[in-house]
Amino acid sequence: MSGSQEKLKPSSSELDLDRPNIEDYLPSGASIQEPHGKLRLSDVLDISPILTEAAGAIVDDSFTRCFKSNPPEPWNWNVYLFPLWCFGVVFRYLILFPARAIVLTIGWIIFLSCFIPVHFLLEGNDALRKKLERVLVELICSFFVASWTGVVKYHGPRPSMRPKQVFVANHTSMIDFIILEQMTAFAVIMQKHPGWVGLLQSTILESVGCIWFNRSEAKDREIVAKKLRDHSQGADNNPLLIFPEGTCVNNQYSVMFKKGAFELGCTVCPIAIKYNKIFVDAFWNSRKQSFTIHLLQLMTSWAVVCDVWYLEPQNLRPGETPIEFAERVRDIISVRAGLKKVPWDGYLKYSLPSPKHRERKQQSFAESVLRRLEEK
């Protein structure tokens, strides 16, 4: 997922079969008043409302805003501050970064020298092996967090291992997973990545029960849904962590939650994550930089400061659909983390919107024309 300009094609999966009405969220100033009276030529030639909507989208749209990086404001703009900033840069790159790299390397050495023996020698003793691997994964995640001088404040009750319980969180970068994982060894559902990340995924993360999906495959959804259901029922599986947005968003907005996590018949425990932008912009813009560069950027910043809130577990209310449930939980998380909600599906980053929305607009126009034809 590095910055390539792939041609967008209309999505083949049912991206938005059943979702709340987008029109409720979009600015609809021009289309509020329903035109009345006999139809005249001017009504048909006057395309100003639709043109206005198009121009509005060209000038500014909430979808693009979700994925805009927000680098901290440069403050080194005068003769006194500039040397200070230079000193800061030198310190960060020549002292902090090597120290952190060393810490991380030590962490990996410790981890691998424990993990590999445990993994192979305890092949028969599953329960013990799982327990030890869990502790080791939490350990290496702590080393990662230390390597960015991560200052994480956890609020709320720590997750415990219980069946029929899933955790959902808003998504800003892959480091969300590491930050949560250092506290509790979750089984995460993630996109399979290429490169060294993929290698880590298929070896170490498999041991905690992580599940992979592939965005570009239409049938994938059902397979993954089944895996999720099976995992959540199991009593001694690690608690399941899902990022229902399906993609990284810039920690100022939240996009629509996919309903998959909300129709498993489990209790949903929301987790809200908010990064403090003064120290670093933690948003991983996967189209602009690879994960390696993103990590290096974090390791040469002063610190990664964030808050994690474990919020009140939620259940499906009687008469509530999974989509309404998902929206309700999104509300809870967005309020806690100070995120603005937008009505877009995160997958629109990768494919065009379905023609349904355009058709809805066309239908309302057509009905208005036909109706007014009848009027005298």
């Binding site: 021009a30 006057d46 395309i47 639709i50 043109l51 877009w344 607009k361």
Partner: protein, 174 residues
């Protein structure tokens, strides 16, 4: 104008302002420049249709395909197009833009088929082709035109000038 730097000089801004008849303030032009760069990901100096289509709000618009024929817009054209949506633009300037959207071949004349095509974009499959033709023929007759007339900009001004056209978009200025 530099194509990779995001710094516009005073000269650049004034040049663009003149091109769009001073309908945008300097601040608005700077904002539009930033937006232009979001839409011109490869820094080629003009907007590509693909990038515009990746904005879901735009892709959903029934007229998006027709507007995409403006593929290859450089920044000055971009601002000129959007200037019709400024609050300071006159009704005539707005009608001129509407006319341009209808007159896809740019020959100054809008034919029956041109209007039919736009109607098709707006109503999709919810009105049959036959019905569309019938409705349009009748409306044209009532307004004093025939199916074979060609409408010019003046005709558009006559028909739309009195209908209290509202076509305004605010440029967000940080």
């Amino acid at each position: 104008m530099g194509n990779s730097s995001s710094m516009l000089t005073q000269y650049d801004i004034e040049e663009v302002q003149n091109r769009c008849q001073k309908l945008f303030s300097q601040q608005e032009i700077v904002s539009l420049y930033e937006r232009f760069f979001q839409l011109d990901l490869n820094a080629k100096g003009f907007i590509s249709a693909d990038k515009l289509l990746s904005v879901p709000e735009f892709a959903m618009n029934p007229l998006s395909q027709r507007l995409l024929k403006m593929d290859g817009l450089n920044f000055k054209d971009f601002v000129a197009f959007l200037s019709a949506f400024s609050a300071k633009a006159s009704v005539q300037q707005k009608i001129k833009l509407i006319f341009k959207v209808y007159d896809s071949d740019g020959n100054g004349k809008v034919s029956f088929n041109d209007i039919l095509e736009v109607l098709r974009n707006l109503s999709g499959s919810f009105i049959s082709d036959n019905q569309r033709e019938k409705v349009l023929t009748q409306l044209l007759k009532e307004a004093g035109y025939s199916k074979d007339s060609y409408l010019t900009l003046d005709d558009f001004i006559k028909v739309l000038g009195s209908s209290g056209l509202k076509m305004e978009v605010e440029v967000p200025v940080d």
